[in-house]
């Protein structure tokens, strides 16, 4: 059963990759759609491989800084809203406002305030902040009512309730938010790099597009996809592990 669950997606992927190779090789979709083998050859070319590795390192560093910043800030503000219910209405509206701002419109403002170097990280932090604020809030409020009552009758202080119960119960929801935020951080970083960062995968995407280096463009996008999916995959596993241990509060 488990094996079959693994075989179908693998066969599906293999078929898609074969189709890609065929379409590219016969230029069915024009000469800007290269074959898979042409794209993979980019990784075999030493200077271009070095460029991709260097750029990926820069992008991942920016994304990681922005992700960490946005996640910590989002979770911290959600905790504040939980601790001081009076602030919640205002903070909720602020978070919605932050989310409503199109990242692409924010970028020029950040370029002239934060600078070219730090804009990718700053733009990565924006969607991560919103997602973590929301998911942490949902997790904290979603804690079982009956357990809340047990803590009340046992004479728990507000702090004990938060530390021993609500925060732990919120972990699966927080990880779920972190999982979705991984791709959000990557989008923010790439967009930030387009506005003239010194290095990064976004810069390579832009340059290879303008210089008509088609296989390099595709290879860069492939690297971006692999990074994003790995982040998503690792956090999915963490979420699943947390749910099996912490979830089912009412079971």
């Amino acid at each position: 059963m488990r094996l079959r669950g693994l075989i179908y997606p693998l066969v599906g992927c293999a078929l898609l990759l074969c189709a890609w190779e065929l379409v590219g090789r016969h230029e069915m979709l024009g000469d800007t759609f290269p074959a898979l083998s042409q794209v993979l050859r980019v990784f075999g070319d030493v200077p271009r491989r070095a460029l991709l590795i260097r750029s990926a390192a820069a992008t991942m560093a920016s994304a990681a800084v922005g992700y960490a910043l946005g996640a910590c800030l989002g979770a911290a503000v959600a905790l504040l809203a939980h601790w001081v219910p009076l602030l919640r209405g205002g903070l909720d509206r602020m978070a919605v406002l932050v989310n409503a701002l199109p990242v692409i419109a924010l970028a020029p403002v950040l370029i002239i305030t934060a600078g070219r170097q730090d804009t990718p990280a700053a733009l990565a932090a924006v969607p991560v902040f919103f997602l973590l604020y929301t998911s942490t809030g949902v997790g904290l409020r979603g804690a079982s009512q009956r357990l809340e009552m047990v803590f009340t009758t046992l004479g728990a202080s507000r702090w004990q309730r938060l530390a021993k119960f609500e925060i732990v119960a919120a972990v699966p929801a927080v990880l779920s938010g972190m999982k979705i935020a991984a791709s959000g951080a990557m989008i923010g970083t790439i967009v930030g790099e387009w506005f003239g960062a010194p290095s990064g995968l976004g810069v390579v995407v832009l340059n290879s597009m303008q210089n008509f280096q088609i296989p390099l463009l595709w290879a860069t996008v492939m690297v971006i996809a692999v990074i994003t999916l790995s982040g998503y995959g690792v956090l999915s596993l963490a979420e699943r592990a947390a749910r099996s241990r912490i979830g089912a509060c009412d079971a």
Binding site: M149, G155, K164, V168, G247
Partner: protein, 256 residues
């Protein structure tokens, strides 16, 4: 220990009527009630008559609309602050990420009292769960979880034990066994206890007094003393006296 007093207690809620106007409807009372130190009292009545409201008022989870709820002359919150209240629900409400021992340690942690290994072992054997110390709630049966929840409620030797349909989610056979388990556990400390239940037999088997509430708004319909000596054996449930009392109370419940 604890003496409870409810004096002219009422509880009403606001709800939206058909026209969208808010109107108040009475859920409970007026209710006068005293429960003596070390008494085991069972509360029965039709669904929605306010049984659980009485329990929530005593637990300090809800406040009366009028009247006073006093435990040893103080409001229930004082008992919470003294960590002298034990509560168990129909559903166990254990922390799913903690083991049996971890869940039993919780009341001690919240009260800032060191949980000695001996006391935890004692509670585990009280719950009849020796060998399951490290099991998580998900690995236990419904009856086992419920015993952990009751042992947790008793962990700090509370002055007042509140049980809200503690066996309502269990099958008939397990429920019967748990009734006798509860009697055994209760006899060790005899805390003042109020148990809400749907089962007349359970009430008669376990309680010193059985209170019947009327339909909404719940008032006291009858207050019946249960004369049987403790510990009550299984044979009691087959005796004529037992059945007669169950029948009387069932009739009272039907008139309610």
């Amino acid at each position: 220990m604890a003496t409870l007093a409810l004096a002219a207690v009422t509880r009403s809620y606001l709800r939206r009527s058909g026209g969208g106007r808010r109107e108040s409807f009475a859920a409970l009372g007026p209710l006068d009630l005293t429960i003596g130190d070390g008494e085991f009292v069972a509360l029965i009545g039709a669904s929605g008559c306010g049984k659980s409201t009485v329990l929530r008022l005593l637990a300090g989870l809800d406040a009366p609309t009028s009247g006073a709820v006093l435990i040893n002359g103080l409001p229930p919150r004082a008992l919470q602050a003294q960590h002298a209240l034990g509560l168990a629900f129909q559903e166990h409400a254990l922390l799913p990420w903690r083991s049996v021992a971890g869940n039993l340690r919780l009341p001690f942690e919240l009260a800032g009292i060191p949980a000695t290994t001996e006391r935890i072992v004692e509670l585990i054997s009280l719950a009849g769960l020796a060998g399951f110390e490290h099991a998580r709630p998900a690995e236990l049966s419904g009856g086992m979880r419920q015993r952990v929840a009751i042992a947790r409620a008793l962990a700090l030797r509370p002055k007042l034990l509140l049980l809200d349909e503690p066996f309502g989610a269990l099958d008939a056979v397990t429920r019967r066994r748990m009734n006798f388990e509860l009697q055994r556990i209760w006899l060790e400390g005899r805390p003042t206890t109020l148990m809400v239940t749907h089962s007349v037999e359970e009430a008669v088997l376990l309680a010193d007094r059985v209170l019947v509430l009327t339909e909404r708004p719940g008032r006291l319909r009858s207050d019946t003393r249960v004369p049987f000596a403790r510990p009550r054996p299984t044979q009691l449930m087959r005796s004529a006296e037992f059945h007669q009392l169950v029948d009387e109370l069932t009739a009272s419940l039907e008139r309610a």
